[in-house]
């Protein structure tokens, strides 16, 4: 290892993390109003999902069109706990349930009275769901478009299930009107700032995990699975297990994101977990550059920000703008904005006449991986 690669390697990474932490933890709170900071916190939740999508899709080649399911699992688990904690001590029944019927709390809500159970479930439930689903599909060699359709159908089914059970899930309104968060009032600006800080720390931790997975031997193996799954099998590996792991990591990231989304945004409804938000998340990742570490994060934040600010001005225009952007990226920049540099360099080299012959034989790894 020479000095240069040392500088561009480890120190660049540490420096990048420090810079991101300073920007998010010091600069942003100083410059933004509490309302805008809350919005940024929401975008950070989407960015967490995006980190997982980058891993599963960008590196593992699994077109995860239904991450809303795992996001929703984490979110609803957290929301159930918050509703139960807010419920009057006399009855123990959350406000919206008491309004609809007098049957009391469904049995499967009960475990989430406990904060500890809730925190564990936020990680374990999405992970378990992803492992079961992953093994079931990847073992049967379901992949490509079939896997995409399956995961999307799941998101649709999940949303329909939520809407169909208003008594226990709040139906299409979802769960909202949370007052406290593990004993702290959500009205207090200081507590809201703390929540934002938690979101920043969670996102940075996820990026660190994703980076470690990408540079590890496992990361190489995952890319190998993406590009030539059969070959990996003939080397004695079980690709289903390799892919399922990345899928489960992505699911946990989405679950934690959902769980933080609930207190930060104050509402979770089927609109946040169905097909449309699932695809919206994916679009951010595609635009940012799915195979890179930071492309998905920046893409997701940019797309979410653009959505908010554009739909403030042109309410229905955003959907079209998003679709157009997605098509442009897919058609002209498959590596996302992260690959803009190499692609432009490639165009420049092509326009420049008569490249020396030996130069063209030097292999260049395009795409910002």
């Amino acid at each position: 290892m020479n000095l240069k690669s040392f500088l561009t390697g480890r120190w660049a990474v540490v420096g990048g993390f420090v810079l991101a932490a300073v920007l998010l933890l010091v600069v942003a709170p100083a410059l933004l109003t509490p309302f805008r900071l809350g919005l940024l916190g929401k975008y950070l939740c989407f960015a967490m999902v995006a980190v997982g999508i980058g891993l599963a899709w960008g590196r593992g080649g699994m077109l995860v069109l239904g991450q809303g399911v795992f996001f929703g699992l984490g979110a609803y688990i957290m929301a159930m706990h918050l509703k139960l904690a807010d419920a009057p001590a006399s009855t123990g029944v959350p406000d919206f349930m008491a309004l609809i019927s007098s049957d009391g709390v469904p049995f499967w809500w009960e475990p989430f009275r406990s904060g500890a159970v809730t925190l564990v479930a936020i990680v374990v439930v999405p992970a378990l769901a992803a492992v079961l689903l992953g093994l079931a599909t990847f073992r049967r060699r379901v992949r490509g478009a079939y896997f995409a359709i399956l995961s999307q159908a799941l998101a649709a089914a999940f949303a329909i299930l939520l809407i169909g059970n208003p008594r226990s899930t709040g139906g299409s309104t979802g769960l909202n009107n949370f007052k406290g968060f593990f004993g702290f009032s959500l009205r207090d600006p200081a507590n809201r700032l703390t929540l934002y800080v938690i979101a920043v720390v969670a996102l940075l931790a996820m990026v660190a995990v994703a980076r470690q997975l990408m540079v590890s031997r496992y990361g190489e193996l995952l890319v190998a699975c993406r590009d030539a799954e059969e070959r990996v099998r003939f080397l004695g590996y079980d690709p289903a297990a390799i892919k399922t792991f990345a899928y489960a990591v992505a699911a946990v990231m989405a679950g934690v994101a959902g769980a933080l989304f609930v207190p930060i945004v104050g509402i979770i409804s089927p609109n946040d977990v169905g097909i449309v938000p699932s695809i919206g998340l994916l679009i951010g990742v595609a635009i940012g550059g799915r195979t890179t570490l930071l492309g998905p994060v920046l893409g997701a934040i940019a797309v979410a920000w653009a959505e908010t600010s554009l739909s403030e001005r042109f309410p229905s225009g955003w959907t079209y703008a998003q679709g157009l952007l997605f098509m442009l990226v897919v058609a002209f920049l498959p590596g996302g904005l992260a690959s803009l540099g190499p692609v432009l360099r490639g165009w420049r080299d092509r326009l420049r006449p008569a490249v020396p012959a030996e130069k063209t034989s030097v292999p260049s790894l395009s795409g910002g991986s």
């Binding site: 031997r217 496992y218 190998a224 030539a228 070959r231």
Partner: protein
């Protein structure tokens, strides 16, 4: 002498009633460089597929004391069975080192997988020398020439610790020198490391130069088996390759190679 030999007994593969491999009996010993030849559609690739677990088969394929029929692909691979494909498949975006490192790692534990590769394993370095790609270690495999990809595949089989190597048309599309290199490489591997090697090939000159024994497959059945000379002289083999009737020595040599 080691016990790693391959023995096929009544191995049969059928696709919806079409029998692609028909009750094949064949055994290959360690150190042998067995060539599997036959016209297009004879079932050569399907036979390799069956042994490596890619297609379901009946009968038995015993290898090192285990029956491979009915096992999963990656389990068969872990028993030391490695194969290549008619079109070279390497991990194009990964470097030569990464390709070999992955091939060497099927038995790695979770902790090793979760960490970065700090230095290149000894077996990988050695395999890279054997296949002559040391200078290209950090080059993405996608940029290698066709021949180099085939060598990389052979290298992957070596580090994978495969003791039964099945190669599907490894020299197709190679230049004459590359073919020679490959042939010598395969000979060296089979003899030095005492591996069992099965090579599917259409190139008769290549076969003549390097085969230690030959099995001829036709319409899923074993037509002939023996040394190169025996097989070339076999009238049934000549009939399959040249059509029925008498053939001049010149025609025969043109198709089946010299020295018939």
């Amino acid at each position: 002498m080691n016990a790693d030999y391959l023995e096929l007994t009544n191995l049969t593969v059928s696709f919806d009633g079409f029998v692609a491999v028909d009750r094949v009996n064949m055994s290959v010993l360690p150190g042998d460089l067995r060539f599997l030849i036959g016209p297009n559609g004879a079932g050569k690739t399907t036979l390799i597929d069956a042994v490596s677990g890619l297609v379901p088969a009946t009968g038995s394929a015993r290898w090192a004391g285990e029956d491979l029929v009915g096992r999963k692909v990656h389990r068969i691979a872990r028993l030391g069975v490695g194969r290549t494909f008619q079109t070279a498949t390497v991990f194009e975006e990964l470097t030569v080192t990464q390709n070999l490192d992955i091939a060497a790692g099927a038995r790695r534990g979770v902790l090793t997988l979760a960490r970065r590769r700090t230095r290149v394993p000894e077996v990988v370095v050695k395999a890279m020398e054997t296949i002559g790609l040391t200078d290209l270690a950090e080059v993405p495999a996608g940029t290698l020439s066709h021949g180099q990809k085939q060598w990389l595949e052979i290298g992957m089989l070596l580090v994978q610790d495969a003791r039964l190597l099945m190669l599907d048309e490894p020299v197709a599309g190679m230049s004459a020198e590359e073919k020679d290199e490959t042939g010598r490489l395969l000979r060296r591997i089979a003899a030095d490391a005492d591996l069992t090697v099965v090579v599917v090939e259409h190139d008769m000159d290549f076969m003549r130069a390097f085969a230690t024994s030959v099995t001829v497959l036709h319409a899923g059945k074993v037509l002939a088996e023996g040394s190169v000379e025996q097989v070339q002289a076999d009238p049934r083999v000549q009939e399959v390759y040249l059509g029925p009737g008498e053939h001049s020595k010149a025609v025969t040599e043109a198709v089946l190679g010299e020295g018939v």
